[in-house]
Symmetry: C2
Subunit: 824 residues, 2 copies
Amino acid sequence: MTKRWARRVEVATTEVSDERLGGIDAWWRAANYLSVGQIYLLRNPLLREPLSRDDVKPRLLGHWGTTPGLNFLYAHLNRVIAERSQRTIYIAGPGHGGPGMVANSYLDGTYTDFYPEVSRDEQGLQCLFKRFSFPGGIPSHVAPETPGSIHEGGELGYSLSHAYGAAFDNPDLLVFAVVGDGEAETGPLATSWHSNKFLNPVTDGVVLPVLHLNGFKIANPTVLARIPEEELAALMEGYGHRPYIFTAGFDDESHTSIHRRFASLLDEVLDEIADIRGSAAQVDAESVERPRWPMIVFRTPKGWTGPKTIDGNKTEGSWRSHQVPLASARDTAEHLHDLDAWLKSYRADELFDEAGRLREEIAELAPPVGLRMGELPEANGGLIREDLRLPDFRDYAVEVPTPGGSVTEATRQLGTWLRDVVKLNPERFRVFGPDETASNRLQNIYEVSGKQWLAEYESPDVDQFLVRKGQVVEMLSEHQCQGWLEGYLLTGRHGLMSSYEAFIHIVDSMVNQHAKWLKVTNHIEWRRPISSLNYLLSSHVWRQDHNGFSHQDPGFIDHLVNKKADVVRVYLPADTNTLLSTFDHCLRSKQYINVVVAGKQPNPNWLTMEEAVKHCARGLGIWDWAGTEEVGTDPDVVLAAAGDIPTIEVLAAADILRREVPDLRVRVVNVVDLMRLQDDSEHPHGLTQRDFDTIFTTASPVVFAYHGYPWLIHRLTYRRNGHANIHVRGYKEEGTTTTPFDMVMLNDLDRFHLVMDVIDRVEGLGARYAGLRQKMVDARLDARAYARKFGEDVPEVRDWVWPDAKGAVEDSAAATVATGGDNE
Amino acid sequence: MTKRWARRVEVATTEVSDERLGGIDAWWRAANYLSVGQIYLLRNPLLREPLSRDDVKPRLLGHWGTTPGLNFLYAHLNRVIAERSQRTIYIAGPGHGGPGMVANSYLDGTYTDFYPEVSRDEQGLQCLFKRFSFPGGIPSHVAPETPGSIHEGGELGYSLSHAYGAAFDNPDLLVFAVVGDGEAETGPLATSWHSNKFLNPVTDGVVLPVLHLNGFKIANPTVLARIPEEELAALMEGYGHRPYIFTAGFDDESHTSIHRRFASLLDEVLDEIADIRGSAAQVDAESVERPRWPMIVFRTPKGWTGPKTIDGNKTEGSWRSHQVPLASARDTAEHLHDLDAWLKSYRADELFDEAGRLREEIAELAPPVGLRMGELPEANGGLIREDLRLPDFRDYAVEVPTPGGSVTEATRQLGTWLRDVVKLNPERFRVFGPDETASNRLQNIYEVSGKQWLAEYESPDVDQFLVRKGQVVEMLSEHQCQGWLEGYLLTGRHGLMSSYEAFIHIVDSMVNQHAKWLKVTNHIEWRRPISSLNYLLSSHVWRQDHNGFSHQDPGFIDHLVNKKADVVRVYLPADTNTLLSTFDHCLRSKQYINVVVAGKQPNPNWLTMEEAVKHCARGLGIWDWAGTEEVGTDPDVVLAAAGDIPTIEVLAAADILRREVPDLRVRVVNVVDLMRLQDDSEHPHGLTQRDFDTIFTTASPVVFAYHGYPWLIHRLTYRRNGHANIHVRGYKEEGTTTTPFDMVMLNDLDRFHLVMDVIDRVEGLGARYAGLRQKMVDARLDARAYARKFGEDVPEVRDWVWPDAKGAVEDSAAATVATGGDNE
């Protein structure tokens, strides 16, 4: 047994032998054979009968082009993993190469471990070939179903972010990350090379990026394959890497020679990594400098070893290899013949024995059990995930002597609790954010851990909270933060991402893919549940009055609720204690995407911690103290709120109504768990019809002040009995640079308009309270005029306090910290 | 008058004089003064009275940090524009620098041209200062309200894509693109440097990127400022540029010296560009090679010329300058004093005369009228936009002898029409796409124009349709395609983007910003309407059975309909002629975002061109020929469809019902313009209640087969009288790698399930047709079993033809082109 991060010379003194190289080649041929078999063959897997059109699948679906390169790398990795006992996971950025990853996992035995029906014999091969990209079978891309994978290969661009996320706090792990040259053109991938400025060479693992330069996409050459090699090398150096360029397959060089060159290169690169790790081990994690990590450019023909030409057109080494090169194998004798020749070129009889089992001498190349890439628990993170050690959030409660009786910044208090979560979980909890951790008021975390930063340092007065080893990671790329967090969670750890609400749309498509991953893994028995992906969205739509229209968008919630109900949760806590209780719940949960939207500005507190816990458990509830209803009868009107700012406006409206329409029976409802609004047949959190009817009534008008786009409430409640009575106010894309109260006025969500809505909707009020209605209209005009004159909100609104809480607020005012610099 | 792209030596033989440098410095000081004034001052704009706290705005909102750098560059650009008569637009990537761009536009007079109330005197200054980031005023970022801008500065990452989009087909235009080093960390920006591989040095304009390395973001250093300079230089060389690194402001160097150095550098760089253009002019557009374009790294302190320290903390040259450095200027004497000193450091009395007008000798630095950056029509594209020359789409009609009587690939036929659009509009129409133009079947375009590609060429057999000058631009980055297209449209041209439906979510956040831009410009009188942004989304959710779950997402429509109704249009044409008519409409429209979803697979045609035109004009309609209703009475059930695949399933269900339930009165409705479903008070395309009731009835059950997430139909129709009767089938996130028909079955959108829905919902049918219902259940089971056995759909479904069309289809079968390679 050798030690990890060892130089080859410490584990083996001789060159890789020809015999060994022959074994690698045999493995590669076997993987290629199995890949082609998966794409084309419905039966006759070992060609023990002459190939006939009926052996060929009726629909040929899959991607050949990138597969042989992935297989080549997998075969070589097996050797070095075995020799160096190096824990390694393989991330296949060119996710189209699904058949290759499946083939290799089958060859090393892990596939059969997970799917015993795919046995290691001819019948198993038959089963393997048929199931690929077939109804009831497995996807054509690298997918959750693929052993050893944490990376869905459908959408492109995230392989390196995932790789670095996996490497954080995994000091013994090598993440071998193959980047496709198509993928390399995407924005997220282009910036993810800079991840090396965030990796600590002592306490984190190592990422070895391999740029698989196979030259073509679906129908075009790739950019990076068509720039001078010195430009490509400069680019990689500029990204902070030492590039090793390996080219093969374009001439007559023998495979043995190619394997020898690559084996030697891989040893050189891993030795270099071992040296870097060895030097890093001499210094402590806080003094270590960013090394120049090696990376490999692996230039080989697309569709390598496949048909050179088809129908007279160049195929190997061109985009024509991207998918299924012999599209008419079932329909033309010529294509069938070419397929037969292609399959036979791998000499399967040398690879598989009579029974169809991989020959022993080839199988020996696989790493020992426990190190095979298909089985590493890091690639099935739930297996090694341990619950977080969570401090009791109740100990972080803010005092609420009476509803509205104190004022705090919700996310700042959350930051205090998170500080202690960070402290108690130094190696398995991280906070990711696009330069907004402090802006979102989580800076108390810095009392125990800084921001991990391996780029250059300037001076302490400007490099506040930067450290070489820390649990906060910030880069101005939502894509990076999301990808890192996904990689971190998928390998069994915990974390959260904080972001401005509007700009989280940047990762809409990434979160789609993660939601799909979760949905699928819920149905794969051997995949164990991972920690939920938690978002804290602050700097939300209602408090972007200063940054203006471009920063106002509450639609991420809408985006997410289209995903499967069993993976999505949305919370809109109205105050600090509710936020604490909510987040505690989120950090304990698994297999969800939790979205929590909460403001960072000073805000009244409504619930004591005890009340908040109950409120969160119910998900929504009637706030008796705020209403004026009588027991035993339905109220005249229900005022409902979801979100911190809507809650304030609803309560201020209730305040006005209490004073001005004293005989009106008002019920105030607050919603923290948005999914409660849905039918219980649609969402596991959904209220029963009966409970919904009890709370919202079936006949009284409901005026609902909602944080986001109002239509979402209709979409969630359209099956409810009282739906026709629900009138929703929310953000309707009216915003600009103005004051906070003008923002709610522009969208008719303000207290005055809510009172108007009540007057307009409760039968009989309109006639009796025309004067009050006019007063509300005037109050809006006055507020607007005041803002335009003085640049801030009318004191009447700014200083509004829930009437029963006036004394308490005055008491606490002295204690409230003044806020500055709060408008990033 | 000198010529464009001229070397300085051709226009002026002497060095830039000290006097001239002094003028540049005065301009810079004036712009800085006006920037600080905008952020802080409510009144007393020229400090003609001692500064008091009441002069300071109550809420200090804005961003100082990046502004002085932007101002410096603007001042220097003015000189070279004037000297070289160089048409130039300025893209401010660091969009926080709003006050700077406004200040410069005010100084050169263009701001007053657009906003006469902001006059060029003390009163105008007062007005300018107050309106900045103030209720009823202007945004704090570079915004549509800012003269000369095509680039909203809120969300970051798109400045270079916009710049290159502006440069395409604008051979006389210099696009000066300032990239913030925060922005540079985003994915989209990181890949957009590669845009230079797509720019033709003969027929396109020039982009001069300036990386504004001011070192800090909100609370962190930037990555690119904290790597060794040789690494940064290598990165820029790797991106294909020749970098010029300029550093200033970190020592005692005099401003005159700094200005001299930068003036000289700018001349050198513009001379180099002139040389490149000169050499390029010697060869034709198809022989020209990609030059190594220069770029500038502009390293200056963040908050340059602002307070060195505040409250003892380093401010100039740190993240503390990001926003409003003196946050307590209104509240503490010390900050007020510092603000006073800061403002006075610019010596406003030397810059503005008694009346408050910029002194003549400084104003002279501005380029002549016509070339001032604030007024260039390229930055207000609607001014120079000309309608497309469109071939009559009716001439491209496919024959439809009877409904369902012919089969074509809709997007392929669209490609034929687009080919001629391309041909007729060689300099103002482009098609952008992430490597999917051919995959989406638009390859007929290549008959007249190839894909513009300035990277290396290999050989003609693999470099098909690559040209150095072409109207198709493809790179595997949706961000790039979107950014280029936006830049192209904003500068007065036309285009479209084609993409896979699922992955267009990648640009969710970008399209948000464009929608916001359109909404705001609709209310700015001097902004003229630009061409609509057109999406063709193909390879849609129902035909991603082969790529599987990761490629299935129809939610972009949902995302878009949250935007303002007057900028969003969604079309779901059911066949080829409808698609042609729809797209003709889209290419004629202005100020919209048009989303068109259409399949690329062979599909039955339902409408002749004459019928399609009428259908598109109405947006939705009853297809009499498909139904079985009687005139004068409401039908028993309405079967509605939106989308090509739902239309097939609805018609197949209608076919079954016709045969099996002959006395059932079925109405078939087809929806092409989705916004018709909304209330006419909600959307300009919305149907009146009366029309809606006439078509959908108020009492009959409606079974609605919809292309996307079913909830969207409820969200659009919840105000409709008959809403409670509408039952929607659509994609409910159930998908995998399977057959096309299994995809619709997994989501209960298939013909058999629709028949079951009808039986379940029409009163009295359940009891009478229990047998038929069971038959449907069995048909589904059979279809699933068949697919799992054979890997394709049951012949009964695969070969289904609308019964009245059988003969016609057989006639046309011979003419149908076989499709291969259709599953990218």
